[in-house]
């Protein structure tokens, strides 16, 4: 296909237009979505600092925390990381790398 000088310049202009416009809009879209998240984040910190919503701001001050860890008759009386804690509240992890290794061996490209 032959293209004259005028047509070439026009095509360049259109392509530049799309590139600039698109780039800005994509940036805007990402920024807008993080603004949205920012509004929720701000509300979380406002609630934390609002004594009408949360009277106390430290976990160790929660009266129900004091009750459950009470050294005398608390359910977790041995304290954090004690025997009962380890039984109920702690866990172990499992190596799950084999299946992604198999995927990669089959030609799938992953980001890690």
């Amino acid at each position: 296909m032959k293209m004259n000088r005028r047509g070439f310049i026009k095509a360049c202009g259109v392509m530049t237009g799309y590139a600039v416009l698109g780039l800005n809009l994509t940036k805007e879209a990402v920024a807008a979505s993080m603004d949205f998240v920012g509004l929720r984040q701000k509300s979380v910190y406002d609630a934390d600092a609002n004594p009408k919503i949360y009277k106390l701001r430290k976990s160790q001050d929660n009266p129900m925390i004091k009750k459950i860890y009470d050294p005398k008759d608390g359910f977790l009386h041995e304290g954090p990381c004690g025997h009962m804690s380890h039984h109920l509240l702690h866990t172990h992890y499992n190596d799950r790398s084999a299946r992604v290794a198999a995927l990669k061996a089959n030609g799938f490209k992953l980001k890690f």
Partner: protein, 419 residues
Amino acid sequence: MKQIEGVMYQTNAPKGIDPDSIFFVQVDATKCQACGNCEEACATGAIQSINDDGIRQVVDPAACMNCGQCLINCPYDAIYEGVSYVDEVFEKLKDPNTVVVSMPAPAVRYGLGECFGAATGTYVGGKMHAALRQLGFDYIWDNEFTADVTIMEEGTELIQRVGEQGKKGARPLPQFTSCCPGWVKFAETFYPDLMPNLSSCKSPIGMLGPLAKTYGAHETETPAKNIYTVSIMPCIAKKYEGLRPELADSGFRDIDATINTRELAYMIKAAGINFNSLPSQAPDPILGDSTGAATIFGNSGGVMEAALRLAYEVLSGKKLSDPTIKVVRTHEGINAADVDVPGFGTVKVAVASGLDNAAKLCDEVRAGKSPYHFIEVMTCPGGCVNGGGQPLDPDVRASLFKSTVAQINKRFRARTVSA
């Protein structure tokens, strides 16, 4: 399939199935417009083009961390959820022999209101508790209580790890947080050599399930076998976590069902409850009361700040007069900070928002070059408030014009130019 707050759901409630075999999110090929937003949002590359037309699919559940960032960034409503317990929860609420327990996460109360017309981020915690009572939940317990328990356990673990350095059999530093189920699966999948660095603490919901069926059962004189626990999350990956076979330490399944913020909004609407006119109500005590340290778990940097509010007081023996520790608050990216604790020294911490950022910190740890004591990771950029189970950002779908231009732009950039 059922439409819930603009998202399609398959209404199956799996039991005793290996969660690694389930697609928790998947693309409806008939709705996919090949724009590629999901692929860009996906940290691992699990969602990718499967044909020349650019139609995307989650290629294998093993590569998917179930975070749902693809879903909330899809402008075409093309990504659906594979698991929903909504029908089963409704049945259990009707059953007089079942004692149904609510366990909502911190971030739910900052998103739920949006489904009822409130401004983005409006706090509706009190109304949420009232709505759960009206739905018929027998105990209004709250996952924020176990966020406080998590701080006690994970903070103590960190102090122990710091103390045992140099001794035989010492657990390694840095210690990573283990609250986020997407991150935990990511570490198990891509960095299994760093599993000893992960805190052994279960997530707050992993703690509330067994506490409800042991301590809660005892305190309320309820037979544990009658208790049905409903985890309510801003998250899709929590559905995977709830199905982990090892989470059965109470002698029963610790977590019976997991729903997300959108599904709770649907249940409230389906039950005909007028959410906006509800009074503000408190949760039930024992496993319901919480602090500001618990609610900030919903934000990236929140677990870190909450843990520091404990670590400072334990390590220094002094009272922290102002609990606000702004330096660790994270909107996006990686945030590193040195926190001076009198009588101890400097606590070096880092917060990663998003798995691509977490991977950078993991590579440092793997290379033995990580200077940190404690690292928090959240899979979703910004934290749980931006979770895959939260109400959708209206802007993502509002303007098809924007997404069309983004699509043209994407194709333009993707064109290969031969020199």
